[in-house]
C-alpha cells in the first residue's frame, strides 16, 4: 500500500494527532491529504474530542465518513484540534491548547472546527472534515478565509461522530475552494442504514456558476443589531456582485431570528446533558475509582475530565430539562424552532437561496471573549440553518481590517447543489 508522508510545521496548533505515514489507494481522493476533526472516530487512531475525559481512547471502528474517505484513497494524515466536544466558537476550549488563525496568529481561527480550518488555510492539507452543530464549520471557514459547507441534515451519516447535539449536527467538507468542497461532498454523501436519520439522496454534482434569474433573499435581520457595519458592507458588496452577474436580490424578513439563539442554546445544551452522560470512566478514558460509591466516583471523574464550558452546558441542559422548567425552556425552544423552520418554508416560496454574513464580526483576538453569553451571541447568524436543517455554505468574500469575511448562502432542504453553485458563482466572478 503506498503512503503519503506528512511532517508539517504545525505552528498554528491545528492538529492534536498527526500520522507521519498515511496510507492511500486508488479512488477519487487518491493521494490527497485529508484532515479529520477529532470528534470523528478513526479506527486505531486516538480520538479525543479535545477533552481530557477521552485521554487514551482509541476507537475500535471507523465513522462511516472515514470508511468512505479510505474507500476513495484519501490519506488521513491527522486529527484536528477543536473546542472540547464541539462546544465553542474559537477553538480556545481545548485540552490541547488553542489553535491560532493563520491569517493573523494573534486571533482565534473560529470554532469549533478551528483546527480543520487552520490546517486547510495554511496549506498543510488540501481538504478537511469538520462538524457543524450551530456554525462550527462555517464560523472557522469565515474567520480563516476558506470554504465550508454544512450539508442538509440527513445527507451525511453521523455514524461514528461522537454526539453532542444529534438533532442539529452534521459532518461536512472544508477546503480552499468550492470545487474541492463539492468533490469531498460527493464522497461523503451516501446513505448509511447505521444512522437512522441518514437519507438516500446522493450528491453527484459539478458546480455550475450561473446565477442568471436566481432569486436571492436577503433578510434584514442578518444586517441588524450586533453585526459589525464594516463586515456588513463587505457582504453587501459581495451580494451586489452576484446581482451584477444576473441574480435578483429580494430583501425580506425573518422574524423568528429574535428567538433563534435562545432556542438553539436550550436545545443543544439539553441534548448535550443526555449525550455526555456516557462519559463516566467505565468503558473508556481515565478510569473511575471502582472502590468508591457510584455518584462520588463519577462526579470526581467528570469534574476532572470535562473543561469548564462543557460542564456549564451539561448543567444548563440538565436545568432546562428538569421538572418544573421543561415547559418554560425546552418546550418553548421547540416551538421557536418550528417558527424558524416556518420562516424558511415561507421565504423559499419566493426565493431560491438566502444570503447574508456568516459571522457578525471578523476573528476575535485570542482571549478576547471571556463571558459565555457574549460568546454565544456571536453564533446568531449560523444557528438558524441548524435549527431548520437546511444546507448552508460560507465562502470568502473579502476582508475587513485585513481579516477574512465570509458570505453565507443558505438553501432549500436537499438542494446543497444550489448553495454550491451560488458559492462557485461568487468565487469565479471574483477571480475572473
Amino acid at each position: 500500500m503506498p503512503a503519503v508522508t506528512f511532517s508539517p510545521d504545525d505552528r498554528y496548533n491545528a492538529f492534536i494527532t498527526t500520522l507521519d505515514q498515511a496510507e492511500t489507494g486508488p479512488g477519487r481522493l487518491s493521494g490527497i491529504a485529508v484532515a479529520v476533526k477529532d470528534n470523528i472516530s478513526t479506527r486505531g487512531i486516538r480520538t479525543t474530542c479535545a477533552s481530557r475525559i477521552l485521554d487514551g481512547y482509541i476507537p475500535p471502528y471507523d465513522a462511516h465518513v472515514v470508511t468512505l474517505l479510505r474507500q476513495e484513497g484519501a490519506a488521513i494524515v491527522g486529527k484536528t484540534n477543536m473546542d472540547e466536544f464541539g462546544m465553542g466558537t474559537t477553538t480556545e476550549n481545548s485540552a490541547y491548547g488553542p489553535t491560532l488563525n493563520p491569517s493573523d496568529p494573534s486571533r482565534v481561527p473560529g470554532g469549533s472546527s478551528g483546527g480543520s480550518a487552520a490546517a486547510v488555510a495554511s496549506g498543510m492539507v488540501r481538504m478537511a472534515l469538520g462538524t457543524d452543530t450551530g456554525g462550527s464549520i462555517r464560523c472557522p471557514a469565515s474567520f480563516c478565509g476558506i470554504v465550508g459547507l454544512k450539508p442538509t441534515y440527513g445527507r451525511v451519516s453521523r455514524y461514528g461522530l461522537i454526539a453532542y447535539a444529534n438533532s442539529l449536527e452534521q459532518i461536512g467538507p472544508m477546503a480552499q475552494n468550492v470545487e474541492d468542497v463539492s468533490l469531498l461532498m460527493e464522497v461523503l454523501s451516501t446513505h448509511d442504514p447505521r444512522d437512522s436519520t441518514s437519507i438516500s439522496c446522493p450528491y453527484r454534482h459539478t458546480p455550475d456558476p450561473t446565477v442568471t434569474g436566481l432569486k436571492i433573499g436577503v433578510p434584514e435581520e442578518f444586517f441588524g443589531e450586533g453585526v459589525d457595519p464594516r463586515v456588513a458592507a463587505v457582504v453587501w458588496e459581495a451580494i451586489s456582485r452576484l446581482e451584477g452577474e444576473g441574480a435578483e436580490i429580494v430583501t425580506c424578513r425573518m422574524p423568528s431570528m429574535v428567538f433563534a439563539l435562545a432556542a438553539y442554546y436550550v436545545t443543544c445544551t439539553s441534548e448535550a446533558s443526555s449525550n455526555l452522560a456516557r462519559f463516566d470512566g467505565v468503558r473508556y478514558g481515565p478510569p473511575a475509582d471502582t472502590k468508591r460509591p457510584w455518584h462520588e466516583s463519577f462526579q470526581e471523574r467528570r469534574r476532572e475530565g470535562f473543561g469548564t464550558e462543557v460542564r456549564r452546558r451539561i448543567m444548563l441542559g440538565t436545568f432546562a430539562l428538569s421538572s418544573g422548567y421543561y415547559g418554560k425552556y425546552y418546550a418553548k425552544a421547540q416551538a421557536a424552532r418550528q417558527q424558524v423552520r416556518n420562516d424558511f418554508v415561507r421565504l423559499f416560496r419566493t426565493v431560491d437561496v438566502i444570503a447574508g454574513p456568516t459571522m457578525p464580526t471578523v476573528a476575535f483576538r485570542l482571549g478576547e471573549k471571556t463571558d459565555p453569553l457574549s460568546m454565544y451571541l456571536s453564533d446568531i447568524l449560523t444557528v438558524p440553518a441548524n435549527l431548520a436543517g437546511v444546507p448552508a455554505i460560507s465562502v470568502p468574500c473579502g476582508t475587513s481590517e485585513g481579516l477574512p469575511v465570509g458570505l453565507q448562502v443558505m438553501g432549500q432542504w436537499f438542494r446543497d447543489e444550489k448553495v454550491i453553485d451560488v458559492a462557485a458563482a461568487y468565487e469565479q466572478g471574483v477571480s475572473a
Partner: protein, 89 residues
Amino acid sequence: MIEEKDVEHIAMLADIGITKEELPGFTGQFNEILDYFDILDQVEGTGSFEHERANVFREDEIEPSLPQDDVLANTRDAEDGFFRAPRVM
C-alpha cells in the same frame, strides 16, 4: 433568579462534580444566560418541532458486530468479559 444551592442541586443531578469555590461564578453566569432565555416566554404555544419522518424499522436480523475484545479494549478494568463499574450502594 437561581441561587448557589440550585446550581449545587443541578450539578448533583448531572453527576458533574462542583466545588464551593466554583459556585458563585457558575451561578452568576447561569442567571445571565437564563435571563436571555426569557425571550422564549414570548413564543406562542408549545408545539413540538415538526420533522419529516420515514419509517426506518428493519427486520431484526443478526449482523456482525465488534468482537468482545475490541469493545473491552479501552477500559482499564475488565473482568471475565465484563466492564467493572463503581459499586452502586
